[in-house]
């Protein structure tokens, strides 16, 4: 079935061929006729229905994924709380006389032993209300971190296992449906709509009428836009509800998402406008548009990664393991000398270097871990710099390759982007520092001024104030920050669409001679 047909001409030319009719009115008449034609087009509604189903299915997948992450965070919080209660009970149970004291690593009332072997804390990246919009990086990057005092640079390299095959194939989420399937639908509809007369050999007849090529083609694509944008917006909103998102709880992001998707659709329509302005047949139009789509969505990111890897290869994590082992060995090999040096630099410990050899492992590590971090700081900085520069490049290239930029923008609105991930990791590090600041000075004070052990006590009882341990509190994230982050990209898409439309208009100054 074709969207346009022979009957087009009578109506259109009745309106457009009026010699005295103002051009604007002609365009409006053309537009009105095209709007009615599209409203009756089976292909249009079939394509939109499929797209809406894909949106809803994708949102359900994304919603289920994000709910599972939130559930894991809640379960972890509950497990940590239960562990804390068990610890407190054990502390009470151990406070009794015994022939032998409890080993320090099993004693929850031993400050040093508790800090290393029994402290159980986690940090989280909260799931946001619009998370079903895009899984983004949240399937690779963890949203829940165990926080331990001795973890180098704060963030454990552990992660939540996701099926690797699923990661390799890719998930069918709403982000995929918008970034990948929406352009395919736009390309197919625009190409079929814009080439019907060309393929049927009627373009020559139309060109013989008093209608400008720009008015004729632009009215058709404008009509497609007028139908497409609202129904896509409606499909997106429906999908978000189906996916369990709460757009009302994140209405600025929701509005921004609607604007973003509309701008993205407009960009592809404008690109189609440029291609169709050369008056190709359907085969040529679809071939050219698919080639452009593949270039923007696949070839440019592929090329970008190849070049980026060649110019600035990622620091090898395998060699980082080697560096870490060397640093740990070097520090461990000179541990007593290093700790003694640290003692000498402190007024409260300078005279106590004879106690260095008898420090427990946890207390000794409170001196040594920062030294290992110092030795590995170059690596840590190098890795962070590489990640930063790669993410910057990704953002910049997103303006050249809109599917890439769209991917990032959707993830930003959903709160599943890498920038938010980095913020969360910074919070993990800050929280670790809070815990270190809580425990390590206390442990180190015990060297000079050990709390007296109750005579004959099974428990050490130099620490029982568990409620004083700092709790993790996620930083307040300004909602406007996410919206502001995507606005430049929305503006860029609109500007690009206008520029492309201008190019198409320039190409459509007159009917081509050979038709």
């Amino acid at each position: 079935m074709s969207i346009a047909s022979n009957s087009t001409l009578h109506h259109v030319h009745d309106a457009a061929a009026g010699v005295n009719a103002p051009p604007a009115a002609s365009w409006r008449a053309l537009l009105g006729w095209e709007l009615r034609r599209i409203a009756r087009s089976g292909i249009f509604w079939s394509a939109i229905a499929l797209l809406a189903v894909a949106f809803c299915a994708g949102a359900r997948v994304g919603g289920a994924f994000q709910r599972a992450q939130a559930a894991a965070q809640h379960a972890q919080t509950a497990a940590d709380a239960a562990w804390q209660r068990a610890i407190e009970q054990r502390a009470r149970d151990y406070a009794h006389p015994a022939a032998q004291p409890a080993p320090y690593w099993q004693d929850p009332t031993d400050l040093a032993g508790f800090s290393r072997y029994q402290l159980r804390r986690h940090a989280y990246k909260p799931v946001l209300p619009l998370a079903p919009l895009s899984i983004g990086a949240s399937d690779l990057a963890p949203s829940r971190w165990p926080v331990k005092l001795e973890t180098l640079f704060g963030v454990e390299p552990a992660y939540d296992f996701e099926p690797p095959r699923s990661l390799a194939v890719g998930r069918f989420d709403l982000g995929f449906a918008i970034v990948t399937l929406l352009p395919v639908v736009v390309i197919a509809l625009a190409a079929l709509l814009g080439t019907a007369e060309r393929d049927r050999g009627m373009l020559r007849l139309i060109a013989a009428q008093p209608v400008a090529p720009l008015a004729w083609l632009s009215a058709r694509l404008a009509a497609l836009s007028f139908w497409l944008l609202p129904v896509v917006a409606a499909a997106l909103t429906l999908a978000l509800f189906v996916g369990g998102a709460d757009p009302t709880a994140a209405w600025p992001e929701w509005i921004a998402a609607l604007a973003l998707v509309a701008a993205y659709a407009l960009f592809w329509l404008a690109l189609a406008f440029v291609v169709l302005a050369a008056w190709p047949g359907a085969a040529g139009a679809i071939g050219s548009l698919l080639a452009l789509w593949l270039t923007l969505s696949l070839a440019l990111p592929l090329l970008g990664r190849f070049v980026a890897d060649g110019v600035q290869p990622a620091p090898s994590r395998v060699l980082y393991v080697d560096a870490q082992r060397r640093a740990e060995d070097a520090v461990a090999g000179a541990r007593d000398a290093l700790v003694a040096e640290a003692f000498r630099s402190r007024a409260d410990l300078a005279a106590l270097t004879d106690r260095v050899a008898n420090l427990d492992y946890a207390t000794r590590q409170s001196f040594l871990v920062p030294m290992i971090e110092t030795r590995l700081a170059v690596w840590n900085d190098r890795i962070a710099a590489h990640r930063g520069s790669r993410e910057t490049l990704s953002s910049v290239l997103g303006y050249v390759a809109p599917p890439l930029g769209m991917d990032t923008a959707l993830a930003t609105l959903a709160g599943t982007d890498m920038a938010r991930q980095r913020d969360a990791e910074r919070q993990v590090r800050i929280y670790q520092q809070q815990l270190r600041d809580f425990f390590w000075p206390r442990m180190q004070r015990e060297i000079a001024h050990p709390a007296p052990r109750p005579p004959g006590s099974y428990a050490r009882l130099n620490f029982t104030d568990y409620t004083a341990i700092p709790a993790f509190v996620p930083a307040v994230e300004p909602r406007r920050g996410r919206v502001n982050a995507v606005l430049p990209f929305v503006a860029w898409l609109v500007v690009a669409a206008l520029a492309l439309a201008g190019l198409a208009a320039w190409r459509l100054r007159r009917w081509p001679a050979p038709l």
């Binding site: 151990y94 080993p103 390299p157 699923s166 994590r317 395998v318 080697d322 790669r390």
Partner: protein, 469 residues
């Protein structure tokens, strides 16, 4: 192939070559595939070199340990690195998404860490294309483009009618067109890749029978995959009443079968056979086999050890109590790891099998399941590494604990210190990847791909029957 059919194929081949748009797309894709292979192979070679270098350093560090408590040595232990599979440059499979290094320390079966894509930016992820995925995604589009050129466009120009008029069998003509498309695809896309892979293995000196078998099987799978789309493309193009309908059908089939269905099916397989959350798995391990057990557990251990030895006091034991307790705790935790982590990994593989079992939905699903299995980059192969590393860890830790148990503390109360002889008695970790057919099951996906080819051929035969001059 009869000489008449052969001459028809050659004729169609010549016509295809004259279609600049179709030939251009084929050449661009061929260049892209080879470029992706070369770039990936170079990166993987660097990666493998780093792994080999660090593994050697780890071994040297292990051997150079000073005299120390053997259990401390079990904590120090080594890192094991997963070697890059021989055909990973052809198909990354799950490699970018699984850890590449694991610390084989006492008490705990650690996760493999440092996934190559673990820190991936959006660009890294969007640009993560390897030859197999490029072939699986784009080759069907090119196949359809060629089929469109050879069938639908000929119909539009009227040359198809002429050809049918002189052809003694429309079916032979239809299959000749499909064969010409298929040969063009295989010659331009598969053969250069296979030659590049063979050259890469030769240069790196890792060319052996299993690589040859895998490469042959992968070539076969890729050729069948392309044949499905060549035959189906010609059938659709010939069946459609006009070129616009042919275009709509070909684009729709490509978008649905190649773009959407593999993702959708993979996600559906995840939902149909859900995995427990990592949080719940870790919690179970923490509850059942914590790295640092409580004083209560210590008392239970002591009672059990004494009862087993038939004595009532530690001092009456003939072995070192600490070593016995470490050994008991270690073996208990190993059983928990087998049950919890082993069961978890079984479920991951079952999920992959569920995905492969849905290959009848799309040939792209069949190829997505088959290609990494043949390249040795699916999870079933990865699991072999996990298990091998864990076996090594257990052997190392059990040896160290046995050494502790065999030596009572000295009169000064100090623990026994072992030396270089013990470290050297532990062999180096070497992972032998499974041979083709030893890990996972490519059978269902291969069968599905073959059935897809059969179905496409039947469709083409049926379409050809109604062709008239």
């Amino acid at each position: 192939m009869s000489s008449r059919l052969l001459s028809l194929v050659v004729y169609e081949w010549i016509l295809l070559r004259r279609d600049r748009r179709a030939a251009g797309a084929l050449i661009v894709l061929a260049v892209l595939l080879v470029a992706a292979f070369v770039v990936n192979a170079a990166a993987l070679a660097r990666d493998n070199a780093a792994k080999t270098q660090t593994a050697a350093a780890e071994r040297a560090r292990w051997l150079a340990q000073p005299a120390k408590d053997p259990h401390s040595a079990a904590h120090y232990s080594i890192y094991a690195f997963k070697p890059v599979p021989a055909l990973a440059a052809l198909d990354f499979g799950v490699e970018p998404f699984v850890g590449q290094a694991v610390w084989l320390e006492a008490h705990v079966q650690n996760d493999l860490l440092y996934r190559p894509q673990g820190d991936a930016s959006a660009l890294d992820r969007a640009g993560l294309r390897h030859p197999a995925v490029l072939l699986a995604t784009l080759a069907p589009l090119v196949a359809f483009l060629l089929a469109f050129a050879t069938a639908a466009r000929e119909r539009e120009r009227g040359t198809l009618r002429l050809a049918l008029g002189v052809a003694d069998s429309p079916r032979r003509l239809a299959f000749a067109k499909a064969a010409a498309v298929w040969l063009a695809l295989v010659a331009a896309l598969v053969l250069p890749l296979v030659l590049a892979a063979a050259a890469d293995r030769s240069v790196t000196g890792t060319w052996h029978a299993d690589v040859l078998a895998r490469l042959a099987a992968w070539t076969c799978a890729a050729a069948i995959y392309l044949a499905v789309f060549a035959v189906a493309g010609v059938a659709i193009a010939l069946y459609a009443r006009d070129t616009r309908l042919a275009l709509i059908a070909l684009c729709g089939v490509w978008a649905a079968v190649v773009l959407a269905l593999p993702r959708f099916t993979s996600t559906a397989a995840d939902a149909a056979r859900p995995l427990p959350s990592t949080q719940s798995v870790k919690q179970q391990l923490f509850d059942e086999a914590p790295s640092y057990w409580s004083a209560e557990t210590s008392r239970e251990n002591e009672a059990a050890i004494l009862a087993q030895a038939g004595v009532s006091r530690r001092e009456e034991l003939r072995a070192n109590y600490r070593g016995l307790e470490l050994d008991r705790a270690e073996r208990y935790s190993q059983a928990v790891f087998d049950r919890v982590l082993g069961g978890f990994h079984d479920r991951v593989i079952a999920q992959d099998e569920a995905f492969g079992a849905l290959a009848w939905l799309s040939p792209a699903i069949a190829f997505a399941a088959l290609s990494p299995a043949l390249a040795g980059t699916d999870f079933a192969h990865h699991r072999r590494f996990i298990d091998a590393a864990e076996r090594y860890r257990r052997q190392l830790v059990n040896t160290m604990n046995a050494e502790v148990a065999a030596h009572r503390p000295g009169a000064d109360g100090k623990a026994h210190a072992a030396g270089p002889e013990l470290w050297a008695s532990q062999p180096a970790f070497v992972h032998e990847p499974p041979r083709l057919g030893e890990a996972g099951s490519a059978g269902p996906a291969f069968a599905a791909l073959t059935l897809w080819l059969l179905a496409a051929s039947l469709l083409l035969a049926r379409v050809a029957r109604r062709l008239q001059p």
